[in-house]
Symmetry: T
Subunit: 149 residues, 12 copies
């Protein structure tokens, strides 16, 4: 049986729906989980969906995913911009990694324009709100399919 795709969410994403809704929208993280489950079902794959506020836990999850996942959708939120540890963990991964952001980070503060995740990701998707997760799942599925050919 195929390995699941891990969808890893970083700090403060547990507050979605209440946190700055003009930037992040009204959907909760639970809504996004549901959306992803449906999309994964359409694509014929499993997901493992998690959230943490702690950098070290996120690092550990990425390490785990390198072993147990077929791909990673990563919204590292604030750690995107400050965590070399996340970068180092990603470098150990050989499965596809897609970086996702709900908002268009390039319209925001300059310190959000730097990403430690991007150089270690296969690709980046940002600015499409919750739908960005669906696009990321499709991209991963496509990448996995491409490898298997």
């Amino acid at each position: 049986m195929a390995k699941p795709i891990h969808i890893l969410n970083g700090p403060n994403l547990n507050l979605l729906g209440t946190r700055e809704p003009d930037i992040y929208g009204a959907a909760t993280l639970e809504d996004i989980r549901t959306l992803c489950t449906e999309a994964a079902s359409d694509l014929g794959c499993q997901i493992d969906f998690r959230q943490t506020n702690t950098e070290g836990e996120l690092v550990t999850w990425i390490q785990d995913a390198a072993e147990t996942a077929s791909g990673i959708v990563l919204n590292a939120a604030a750690y995107t911009h400050t965590s070399v540890a996340v970068l180092d963990a990603l470098k150990t991964c050989t499965v596809p990694v897609v970086e996702v952001h709900l908002s268009n980070v390039y319209k925001r503060e300059p310190f959000r324009h730097n990403s430690y995740v991007s150089p270690a990701a296969t690709g980046v998707i940002c600015g499409f709100g919750p739908h960005g997760y669906v696009l990321a799942l499709e991209a991963i599925a496509k990448l996995i399919a491409g490898k298997q050919e």
Copy 2:
């Protein structure tokens, strides 16, 4: 009848397939056009697919699209990093704009990390090769559908 989605390609993209294939892949621009036509057909929409090496022509096309398109998929290539004129043209658009790059620009030279397009785009998709255009079309279709609800 619905307006088409304009897919606008910047300088040197006419060389795809022969230009630095280790970065850009073996697909030609014609292959990408075919891929987009198929995807658009699946999504029930029309496309208008163009390429130019001239900044001024790209500016004019974006101005036109603001009138005649339902959305824009823009791969401004090198002008992404140097053209304030492209940015100013995009600011006049009220339709959704999705910025696409074939390669993950964040893995490349520092001057490719700055984008004048991003702050005026709805979202960004990069690093997925030709498939990124398909994801962009899906994202546009979703955004248009969202507006119409």
Copy 3:
């Protein structure tokens, strides 16, 4: 009954009294808790006083405080200068937030002059040692009173 004011302390503050006493003084964190309890009593309010070395835990506490506190006194210590996650958590708060530092950080190394907390705080108090916490509590009390008028 009124909600308490949360007083949240970041990394290494558990060592106060022994850590670099020429910079931070001889008072322990327990001494500061006592001082705050007394000041709160004078102001007729409750406090919830905590310390953690972990960024993620501090983020979680700030999220909690947004729900359960009437105001936050935050000494994020080293995370002041490196944590976008703390900033993002603070942005979800609608209650008053006062940033406190024991020492005058502007007399110290340049990397301590940048604060990710300040742009999301109501105000800043630094350089007064433990008494700064008392001033912060008074400021919060004043701000809460101002809102209730």
Copy 4:
């Protein structure tokens, strides 16, 4: 008899109440003087409250205060960010100096993030509007009392 606390105000603060009220509030400088007089009375001390638009006059007042005041509350306004002369004058002071700002300067233009005053001040209080002056007086009183013990 104890020396008074000098409260020195820099350029444009004479316009308070009319100048950018969304940033600085509706209170006039005269209102703040009244607030300070009452607070000083509660603390059992005298104040000397002044305002000037001229950098050189502010320098001279600081020099005077070093002789005749028991402490200084300084809102140097625009000179905070540009005046090395104010810094040099403050360095001659051995009495406590508290830097005050009505607004949270860290939420404003980058050139307001640099302060020539802070490295020579005992502490900094900003973002609490007129009430910040009261907190500053309390801090000074506490510092003087601390010295006398």
Copy 5:
């Protein structure tokens, strides 16, 4: 009986042997522990060898070591470059601290050239692979012996 030397390892070092072996070599962290145990035995001292992915836990361990260790060998990995909290914890230590890196960090990305650990360390050893830990233990032993003379 003499206190042990604490050997503290930061994020992703648990992956040694599998993570980027062209940079970090084939030895696992367990191999390094064995190497250190043997070297310590030759030097007549004890070691306490740990690894964590979490910044806050590393901070707490350094605080503990300040009490219970005779010296610290610290490979803070990614936190070397981002953690002011680690720096602050190290500043409370009076025992010798030796910073170790397996690879020569100065040959890698620019953001790895900055170290928050170095200013608080007694010395730095990098680029010798696992053998660097042995050199660090020898250096600590020498430093302790120097103090006891």
Copy 6:
């Protein structure tokens, strides 16, 4: 017969009236042409009024104007900030050149504060909307008259 004054407009100015009207106002480029024709008539001179989106065409027009115009009013729009080619073309001109901007560019994004045109212009007029063109024509007329005296 006297040579005309060339009024050269850069990219996106053809959209005036519809493009970001809160910044650029409601007047169209045709309105500005009318305004300039009237002002030129009052000043007793001819104008040649053009617009292009292409950098190279703007360069060629400036080269032409050096031969056939008595002065140049230049609103290079986005090329103001990015075009060394425009600068080089202007350096070949011995007739007066007045740089015009509709908006006050110093209130906008930092990359609009740099101008390659200014060092090669006689003078700069910005922030007065369409009326700035009239002021520029008067300035040119004055400069030409000054030469002829």
Copy 7:
């Protein structure tokens, strides 16, 4: 009766005619006053023309003008580049402010390219020598007329 337009001149402008005539020309400040008086007469308005070497006096005059003038023509000279106090004073003005410079500052030293005045001005005119003051008066008159319509 209509309020006058205040024409405020900063440091060293009293030396015009003798100071670096290759940059500033042969006209004295008195010549410019005469020129302005004539131009104002043509426009049917009054002027109040002043010069000072002192930053604080310039700040005070701007504050006064906010009350008693219908518009301000400001040549802040050296204070243009160093005075946040002048900027703060200008921000209190609701009447039109036109920044004027005799020389084209963009052809000179880099520190003259930054202006604290521009972000608070309606518009900027530079490089036309004394005639720039006449253009500024016309611009103000136009702006006042525009408001009254």
Copy 8:
């Protein structure tokens, strides 16, 4: 028959002889074409000599040359310093590319010290006036001969 060497000239070079003759000399572009024709004749090769003011046209010519030329002599003039599109076009070329400048650009403004052309060129020749084109042709001839051995 051997392919010709393409000699491509960028913006404003059509003005040579009249444009800033103290920097660029008295020779016209036609003079340089004659010089190159003679030198090519001596070297036994053909040339194709062109000039354009438009970035996009220069990009297209470089793309063409990659197919139809045996080598490229490129004086990109102002686009040397601003055009990533020219760089990208050059990267598709496998024939030798020699960058030429008439003046020594390192003696001029700082923005002329950066070249997007150099990293993609085989070599650089600058500062020798029109004779630099002859040296470039000799260098190309040498490089082609070297390949054929």
Copy 9:
């Protein structure tokens, strides 16, 4: 009779002897005046010795000195580092100007390394305490003598 040498002192120099004596020494400004009077007497010249805290007054004095002095010894103190107005005033002087500092400013904070005075001065003398004024007078006398030969 020969014109006197003006010795102009900037802000806070009136405090010499009490201000940071470890940096500036124990001599008062009055002591320096006496020292200068004696040295001038030996050199057979007159002096005019002044001090001010106000930038504008220093500017006016420099303007005056351009008319009435045979040379200027200028210790602009803090205004050295912030005043473009002082620089502009000095540029109008044709008499020799010697910049003096009591301390070696290059050993102090970075913002004291920039001098707006130096580019307009004949020479600079710093680090010799009060004796630097005597050296400056000798240098001026030498320069005046050199002109008269």
Copy 10:
């Protein structure tokens, strides 16, 4: 017979023992030579120990060592931070190179944080005083042994 290890010392190291003993300690360079001879004896290898103040001589010695040494211990002192020539010489070496510094350079001036030596060295050891040379010899011996296995 095995080749010796060259121990090359740069400028001012001949002054050890007298030069800034609080930074560099009381040991002379002769003491270090003795220490190295003993350590080499324990390791069963020969050393060649030299010092020079001249950059060019150091370059020549490194070139020689590439031929005649089995490894290099290099304390380039000040040339560490300024000499590209030393870097280029090191790049020609295939034997192990260990960079040594007596003091922890990262606690000192910023210009000492940059090292041209590090990118060409096998490893770096700093902060252990003379004992660092012994550690370096051990490291070299280990590296040589590793190669021979």
Copy 11:
């Protein structure tokens, strides 16, 4: 009899052929000397060909060449990027100076992009390997001939 052309080579060039042959090629410095002798013979001139590792000796040779040479071909190697002394020596030369580099330095590390030699050179030739010396000799011969006409 005509003066010779001096061909001066800086540090590490004596290693050519063995040093990083993928960058510098297989030719030795002796091969280049032979190449230059032949080319000089064709041009009817003499050469004086030298190499040194010492900055001071290179400076002295340039000083000598100013007297005894008719032109200088200078490959300052590493000193190109660090030596103000070489720049100052070149400024005393009135004979033509051509800067040569074997490799295209603009494709290498950023610190090799800065040249202290270029601003004092007549022209620059880089990237053509040993043949670049021949082009440089031809350029010098052309420049000398141009002077004699």
Copy 12:
């Protein structure tokens, strides 16, 4: 008998009188030696006057002077701006060191504004041509006398 004052001159100063006379004047180094000998005679002291083009020799001379001189007058010329080795040598000196420059270096290129010599010098004198050496000798004499009191 008193130790002499060493007057040490760096690279290219042997060319004085011929090198850029508009900057450095017509006096030769021999003229300056004569001037210094006379001034020393007036002051009742001996001098030792030297010049070298080699950084290492200058370093050695400074080391010698620390032993055998009563003070050092140092014109390190180009090495002022690039030599950390000179700085380190100066730090070993306990005798007074006066940095001299013939020209006002602050009026020249930015890279001449940085001095590695200044932080280790007692004082700096620049801009007075050869007379600056006399002023330096007087300053040294004064400093020595001050020590002996």
